[in-house]
């Protein structure tokens, strides 16, 4: 029974949302899990698709009717991630792992999370010296001049943003990274920060253990964090609707509590699944998100524009457009590239080498793999045609949308994987 006093009491304010960008010790990284019923439901659906070739779910908006968004609109709705807030969060973590025995901290970045950008921002903020990695020739010749040129501790902090560029998985390619780690961890270079890719770190820890070093990383983005980041009000007056259910991905009242839409307490299943699929990797989730955004069919857009016109004919065009929330549909899923069934050890070696080094040039791939040059080129081109690899400049990388497939492929074959 409600008392009159209870009516007068304002509803309690929801607790403040945790910061979006959190830096944690690597051991505290929590891979987001999808809910058990949702996982079972998804498996059941995929089994149905496999056996019957049909999907039991009736989508609210047929994906074929939806249109791809123009690149300009896509750039507004899903701009490249700005890693500066992550660098600020790193800067704020002064006391983290204060019991570490070395003056050097290691910042681990997952693939597509651009840890060099985070550490470069951090270096600017701290006025730290940025150390450049050695070039390929220096690595393969174990040219110790690179080590000798590193400035000894002057009190100014230093940053090596890409430790994965300091070694090659080659019998001659490990001396410099070992030498650098020995000097840095002994404190000879003074206080500093090393950035390293998670796959490269898994390998480096096997060749040169790093006991007592504080290892930091960006905390996983769960469904709620992805909701807050991907549907931030900065993207404009946009309503993101699920093409599967027709429901808005952000609850209608969630935006009322503040600019940052902290009111959303639970994430929609789509984003929860996306977070679980990407294992909390926001960089990867961003690629998926971009691929899933769709514009409404043309006839619906015209109807929407007509309604806006009837509502307030006296308003200027700009105002009318601003008043009506733009509807952007989020496709239920996208087709990710699959590995050919006959993928043998050559393909596994190639993909593994690319992940361990965060991308390699084809000439260097020939040096680290026991695959003849002609066959290597043919594999690279074939995997590129299958959307499993992309070429960024001269460097080959595993395509972001293929990362999950490739990681599972390597894990199932007992290859060394990262710890995320």
């Amino acid at each position: 029974m409600n008392t009159p006093a209870a009516h007068d009491t304002p509803p309690p304010k929801p607790p403040p949302a945790p910061p979006l960008w959190q830096i944690v010790a690597a051991r505290d990284y929590e891979v987001p899990a999808d809910s058990q019923p949702a996982t079972l439901q998804r498996r059941w659906r995929s089994l149905g698709r496999l056996l019957l070739g049909t999907d039991d779910a009736d989508p609210a908006q047929a994906e074929a009717d939806l249109r791809a968004l123009p690149q300009v609109r896509l750039a507004n709705l899903a701009p490249p991630i700005d890693w500066a807030p992550a660098a600020r969060a790193l800067d704020a973590q002064e006391s983290l792992d204060a019991d570490a025995h070395t003056p050097v901290r290691l910042f681990i970045g997952q693939p597509y999370c651009d840890h060099p950008a985070i550490l470069t921002h951090w270096a600017h903020a701290r006025d730290a010296v940025v150390l450049a990695p050695p070039d390929t020739e220096q690595i393969l010749c174990a040219d110790r001049r690179w080590l000798d040129e590193l400035a000894p501790g002057t009190g100014r902090p230093w940053v090596l943003p890409e430790l994965e560029r300091c070694f090659l998985r080659h019998a001659n390619g490990l001396d410099l990274v070992r030498g650098f780690l020995a000097r840095a961890l002994s404190g000879a270079l003074g206080p500093g920060m090393i950035g390293c890719d998670s796959w490269a770190l898994a390998f480096i820890e096997r060749i040169s253990p790093l006991p007592g070093t504080a290892t930091l990383t960006l905390q996983a983005f769960d469904g709620l964090a992805l909701t807050r980041y991907l549907m931030h009000p900065d993207r404009g007056q946009v309503r993101f609707l699920s093409a599967r259910s027709g429901e808005p991905l952000m609850p209608e009242d969630a935006g009322d509590s503040g600019d940052d839409r902290h009111g959303a307490e639970t994430a929609c299943p789509e984003l929860r699944q996306l977070a679980a699929h990407c294992r909390g990797n926001p960089g990867l989730a961003w690629y998926y998100w971009r691929q899933r955004l769709r514009a409404a069919p043309e006839r619906e857009q015209q109807a929407q524009a007509g309604e806006a016109h009837h509502d307030s004919p006296q308003r200027a065009d700009g105002e009318r457009l601003a008043a009506a929330d733009e509807v952007v549909w989020v496709a239920p899923g996208i087709e990710t590239p699959t590995l050919p069934a006959e993928s043998g050890e050559d393909v596994a070696f190639l993909l593994h080498a690319l992940l361990l080094h965060r991308g390699l040039e084809s000439a260097v791939l020939g040096a680290v793999l026991p695959i003849p040059e002609g066959r290597l080129h043919s594999h690279l081109l074939r995997l590129q045609a299958l959307d499993l690899l992309v070429r960024e400049g001269t460097r080959w990388q595993v395509a972001p949308l293929a990362y999950h497939t490739v990681r599972e492929f390597l894990r199932s074959r007992s290859y060394l994987t990262d710890s995320f």
């Binding site: 019998a171 001659n172 490990l174 096997r206 050890e345 793999l369 026991p370 007992s414 290859y415 060394l416």
Partner: protein, 269 residues
């Protein structure tokens, strides 16, 4: 004599049409199930890797034995009145026939049953048996089939279990150790050579990281013998893994000035 014939007749049940059909159905069902197990499980296993592949392959002989046991348990009460007297008479007669005519054949069958329980080899294991080294691809009731590195299929009767040693390289585990051997002239820096050879193993794309890499050396009268012991990701890669270690190990040793040992040729007539 007529009394003995009468006793023998009582040993076996009189089979009517229903019994015959039931026996035939059990027999056919067992054969079909065995065929399915022998075809389907290896087919699935060869699409898997690591532990799942190994354990699925290893389950084939056990499942087959189980099916045969169930079939016999179902068929015997139809054929024979299961009393102690009858069983003793049946086993005695069978033993006599086996002892004279089918000694080796039955010995192999019994060794097959023993191998299913003791598991000196399972499908997926790499074994050396009777001088042949290869991967066990099939463990039958009477024989075991190996595929060697030369892609030859060798069929060895289980009978060899009674008298020969079986060398099993992975013994039910999905990983096996490989060794690459290097013969080096004694004048070299042994400490550096060990470190270089360890890096050769650590940088091989074949390497399985969850098992140790060790480099051991032994002084011989002619020089120093190094052995790099490491595990490949997949046992089927063992020969390519050793080749990779050998090629890159030789390069690495030559880089640090450790000369390979040349064969000593006698010039004396």
């Amino acid at each position: 004599m007529p009394e003995h014939s009468a006793n023998l007749a009582r040993l076996f049940n009189k089979l009517d049409r229903g019994d015959s059909i039931e026996l035939a159905l059990i027999l056919i069902a067992t054969l079909v199930l065995i065929r399915i197990v022998q075809r389907a499980l290896p087919w699935i296993a060869n699409r898997l890797h690591g532990r799942p592949r190994h354990y699925l392959l290893a389950s084939v002989p056990l499942l087959r034995l189980l099916l045969i046991g169930v079939a016999l348990a179902l068929m015997l009460p139809i054929l024979v009145e299961p009393s102690v007297q009858n069983m003793v008479a049946l086993l005695g007669a069978a033993g006599l026939a086996i002892g004279f005519a089918l000694k080796d054949y039955v010995s192999s069958l019994i060794a097959g049953v023993v191998s299913a329980f003791e598991q000196p080899y399972r499908p997926g294991d790499w074994i050396e048996l009777d001088g042949h080294y290869g991967e066990v691809v099939h463990v039958g009731m009477r024989t075991v089939a190996l595929v060697t590195a030369d892609d030859d299929t060798i069929t060895v009767p289980h009978l060899k279990l009674w008298s020969s040693a079986v060398r099993n390289a992975n013994n039910g585990s999905p990983v096996l150790q490989c060794a690459a051997v290097f013969h080096v002239h004694p004048e070299h820096d042994a400490r550096r050579a060990r470190a270089v050879l360890e890096d050769v193993a650590m940088t091989s794309p074949y390497l399985y990281f969850d098992a140790p890499v060790t480099v051991v050396l032994q002084e011989e009268t002619w020089g120093t013998k190094y052995m790099v012991r490491a595990y490949p990701v997949d046992p089927r890669q063992q020969f390519r893994f050793v080749s990779d270690l050998t090629v890159r190990g030789r390069e690495a040793l030559s880089r640090i000035g450790a000369r390979p040992l040349l064969p000593q040729v006698s010039l004396r007539a």
